[in-house]
């Protein structure tokens, strides 16, 4: 059976169990999806809440029915610090990281990736995150911050795990010792890897470096592999929300 159609709205659009749609949202529900008032619909606020809902008669509102207790979120807040890769691969990670349950993405400016994303890019990236969250039935839409430098990254996240080509400890060897009750930050570098000064800085700040094995992975595959391991371990050992 197909899941109901899903729409993420801003919390400010909800008042007394009624959602006031934007013109674009109204167009989407009525003309793109061609929903009828009896069709099942979920409204999400992107901040952990989901409701069963139905179209209002006036074409500009949606009536919220029962609130739904979520079960699709990881118990653990995963933060992905991701070097600014080429746009296509960066966007591939955004989409797949959302499916795998990440809560926040911090783009990192590194010696080997100095891109400066435009405001348009950010708009596009937020749309990718939102669509991936809807598609994978997330209750939260992952947030994406402004790009940080490597020194700023370790100020924001004083502990974490950084993928490194020179590391010998496998990521899996850290899992049992991680504190899943606090946010967990993982960092994935650009193609070509972090520079030695970058790695030294991050490790001396208290992070630990990990390997994903003996084959050379592209950055996109390294990011998805790391998140797969983390998210699956969290599902296995820690109760979901």
């Amino acid at each position: 059976m197909r899941s109901p159609q899903r729409l993420v709205v801003d919390p400010s659009q909800i008042q007394e169990q009624v959602v006031t749609l934007t013109p674009a949202q109204a167009h989407y529900l009525h003309h793109v999806l061609r929903l009828k008032p009896t069709d099942p619909l979920w409204i999400l606020d992107g901040h952990g809440h989901r409701w069963q809902a139905q179209l209002g008669g006036d074409r500009t509102t949606v009536q919220l029915l029962d609130a739904h207790c979520g079960h699709s979120e990881l118990a653990t807040e995963i933060i992905l610090c991701l070097a600014l890769l080429k746009t296509a691969t960066f966007e591939q990670v955004l989409q797949q990281a959302t499916e795998l349950g990440v809560r926040q993405i911090i783009p990192i400016r590194t010696a080997r990736s100095l891109l400066q994303p435009s405001a348009n890019k950010y708009q596009r990236w937020r749309r990718i995150l939102q669509e991936a969250a809807e598609q994978s039935e997330r209750l939260y839409v992952p947030t994406i911050t402004d790009p940080l430098t490597v020194p700023a990254m370790v100020e924001v996240a004083p502990q974490g795990y950084i993928g490194s080509l020179r590391a010998t400890t496998l990521f899996a060897d850290y899992l049992a010792g991680m504190n899943f009750n606090a946010p967990i930050a993982v960092a994935i570098g650009p193609e070509g890897g972090w520079t030695t000064p970058e790695l030294d800085l991050v490790l001396s700040a208290g992070w630990q470096e990990f390997s994903l094995g003996r084959r050379t992975l592209r950055a996109v595959t390294a990011a998805i592999a790391t998140l797969s391991l983390l998210s699956h371990y969290s599902e296995q050992h820690h109760p979901t929300m």
Copy 2:
């Protein structure tokens, strides 16, 4: 430091430590890469062997020097049975599965994916596999078979693990019980999942079904997540070649 340039040749091109290049390979080494005779070069035969090598003076041969003992292959032979997804996502999986160490890919024709790939597609797919193997320093280039139906899949691989939206056992819960000394087959269905008759057939043949957690993953993400878990576990618990 950058790794040496890598070239995969057919074993039949190698005789008495000399590789006879095809015109395309000679063009690639001399005119695309502009290699000099002193530049480091690796020759791989795609079947588990790698040599240090150097360009011959005559522009049509390469001289093999020392054979290299590989360390980039998993000890485990992983077979990915993958529903014929849309071309772009199917090719994304081919590339990432190669990075993650898969040895064989079996495209599966399912009720929800009836594509019939052309001979041109196969040529293109083999090139993707070869390039990904070179890039990730694999000793083996994964093979890709003709498409199989679901009943044919369980004849070829009488045991395996199939991703299923209705399963409740996590993939990780099977890992400790898997036999890593024999090939391990995993099957990933199309968008929308396997049909109930397909799943019933596969399970009654002796396969086991697994879940990747509570979020709905697209097929491409499900495939990469599964291979990440399998490949990383193999690295962690079983000595590599």
